[in-house]
């Protein structure tokens, strides 16, 4: 059972969310052109497709870096100094949250609870959780993502 099996050829509206996730995985983000193509294939209005694409926080209609860092900002992480982690990441990467590094390597985003509260402060990089974070561990963690 691969990524919801390969149904990239599907023309059914019920598969829209899967198609959007697959397209984003392939192209890095969901461009206007991509959404228009999907709308045509599925015989849906562009606004309906756009509506789904913008509802979910893991889907993006703007270009993202190769690796997306999502820092948990919810209470358990917040009170374990998530702000210090955010500040350190911004400094290391030379960008603000919501931005992508000029070389396209990293995007930095904030996110709501990722279910790693026992390891707060925690972040997701792509699908990987990094918990019990400290500022001095950050450079080493980032190194693994080329």
């Amino acid at each position: 059972m691969a990524e919801n099996t390969t149904i990239t050829q599907s023309k059914e509206t019920k598969d829209l969310l899967i198609l959007l996730a697959q397209t984003q995985k392939k192209c890095g983000f969901l461009s206007e052109e991509t959404l228009a193509n999907l709308a045509r294939t599925l015989d849906m209005s562009l606004s309906d497709v756009y509506g789904v694409a913008t509802f979910y926080s893991f889907l993006s209609t703007k270009p993202l870096g190769r690796h997306v860092i999502r820092v948990c900002k919810s209470l358990p992480c917040h009170y374990k100094d998530a702000a210090v982690i955010i500040e350190s990441l911004e400094k290391t990467l030379g960008i603000k949250t919501g931005e992508t590094t000029p070389d396209g390597r990293f995007s930095l985003e904030l996110t709501n609870c990722i279910g790693a509260c026992d390891k707060a402060p925690a972040i997701l990089i792509n699908d990987d959780v990094h918990g019990d974070l400290t500022v001095d561990r950050i450079p080493q963690i980032l190194q693994a993502y080329k």
């Binding site: 789904v52 509802f55 919810s74 209470l75 279910g115 509260c117 026992d118």
Partner: protein, 403 residues
């Protein structure tokens, strides 16, 4: 009352990658037993057990199954809600990491009971890393012939807290925006793709194999009169030993946060996450049960350095962000609450703001479409009841500055 392992009985005991170790610990014996009974008998057993939904609402699981079983139609669905998104909850993650097989077995039993040939596990996007092991468990069960009567498919969420709400979850599986539905009709009559559907939380299902194997009477003797069995809690925040603990229902909150998690400095405890209750230390002897306090099992402890207004403000900010936006009371209500609380954060809150919060709370509770909007005022109401001083001291400070 002590810790007791029913849901977590295999966690740390079996190898979550290898079915043979699960089989060596009574694996799939519950299914075997279920298949020797009629679906109606299985449902009767679950009803007798008194098992209630562990996702927060506490609806009797057997009744849900029965309603769906009795709904006309050949096509029915079973959905396992693994969209654990409540702030401070990570118990389902722990379960999926340590014992995916019990969940697969439970889904197989539930599918047989309600007559579903297809089951979905809706897994939140943040837990994508759990998918390979879960898929592996399904594949192994299929290869051994345990899923001959139904198939199970994993569906990924895409980052939306509200999709843990059952009707939004179904919309999401149907490929749409995760907006909640008007009810009735309820899922047992008209659920996924318009077909009769059961939606059960991961933890609810995890109880099923043990109930089948040991019998409803055994399960029924554990817990309180209206809360049978155990509950798995995720404890986090200002505690030295954050983690997942399973306790007999009716156990005192004190045993959990002080004895097990080791909390010493407690100002407030949030029970049930963002939409849960916010209570003071003086209520530590409250039993954890459906008739008192429970929710989905998220317990976040805040020490005396934490600011109550900050806690409530951040909680409301979360809810405003995650509101699906379909109904006005929730979409606008959470926004107005954020703005009002922000005034308190900046020392600009006034007495009339408290009134706005109170009136808005009752409007949202009465008129929101789903649990998110209905329960969103909880932290505000509780903080006004138990921590009124946090508001009053700020109002007073403002007055003094003026003079």
């Amino acid at each position: 009352m002590p810790e007791k392992r029913i849901v977590l009985r295999n966690c740390g005991v079996i190898d979550p990658r290898d079915m043979s170790s699960y089989l060596a610990h009574d694996g799939f014996k519950g299914l075997e037993k279920a298949l020797s009974l009629t679906p109606e008998q299985v449902i009767e057993e679950v009803k007798t057990s008194g098992l209630r939904g562990r996702g927060g609402a506490g609806f009797p699981a057997g009744m849900k199954w029965e309603l769906t079983r009795k709904s006309p139609g050949d096509e029915k669905y079973l959905i396992c809600n693994a969209d654990e998104g409540e702030v401070g909850t990570f118990k389902d993650r722990y379960i999926l990491q340590n014992d995916p097989f019990s969940l697969v077995e439970a889904i197989a039993i539930a599918g047989y009971a309600i007559g579903a040939k297809k089951g979905f596990i809706y897994l939140r996007a943040e837990y994508h890393y759990l998918r390979p092991m879960l898929a592996n468990a399904i594949d192994q069960a299929r290869a051994k012939g345990f899923l001959s009567h139904m198939d199970i498919e994993i569906r990924m969420g895409a980052g939306a807290y509200v999709c843990g709400e059952e009707s939004a979850l179904m919309e999401s599986i149907e490929g749409k925006r995760g907006e909640v539905r008007y009810r009735p009709p309820f899922p047992p009559t008209k659920g996924l793709f318009g077909k009769p559907t059961v939606i059960n939380n991961v933890e609810t299902l995890m109880n099923i194999p043990a109930i089948m194997l040991n019998g409803a009477r055994w399960f029924n003797q554990i817990g309180t009169e209206r809360s049978k069995g155990t509950k798995v809690f995720s404890v986090a925040g200002d505690v030295p030993r954050p983690g997942v603990y399973e306790m007999v229902l009716g156990s005192k909150l004190r045993e959990l946060v002080q004895d097990l998690a080791g909390a010493t400095d407690i100002k407030a405890i949030q029970i049930g996450g963002a939409t849960g209750r916010l209570i003071p230390e003086s209520m530590l002897d409250t039993p954890l049960a459906f008739e008192n306090l429970l929710g989905a099992g998220a317990i976040t402890v805040f020490n005396s350095h934490r600011d109550i207004i900050d806690i409530v403000y951040r909680t409301m900010e979360f809810l405003a962000e995650e509101s699906c936006g379909k109904c006005v009371p929730c979409r606008q209500g959470t926004e107005v609450m954020v703005e009002t609380l922000e005034r308190f954060m900046h020392g600009e809150g006034e007495e009339r703001d408290v009134k706005v919060l109170q009136e808005l709370s009752s409007t949202m509770m009465l008129t929101s479409l789903c649990g998110l909007g209905q329960a969103a005022p909880n932290p505000v109401i509780d903080s006004l009841q138990y921590f009124k001083d946090a508001y009053e001291s700020r109002i007073k400070a403002r007055g003094e500055v003026k003079v």
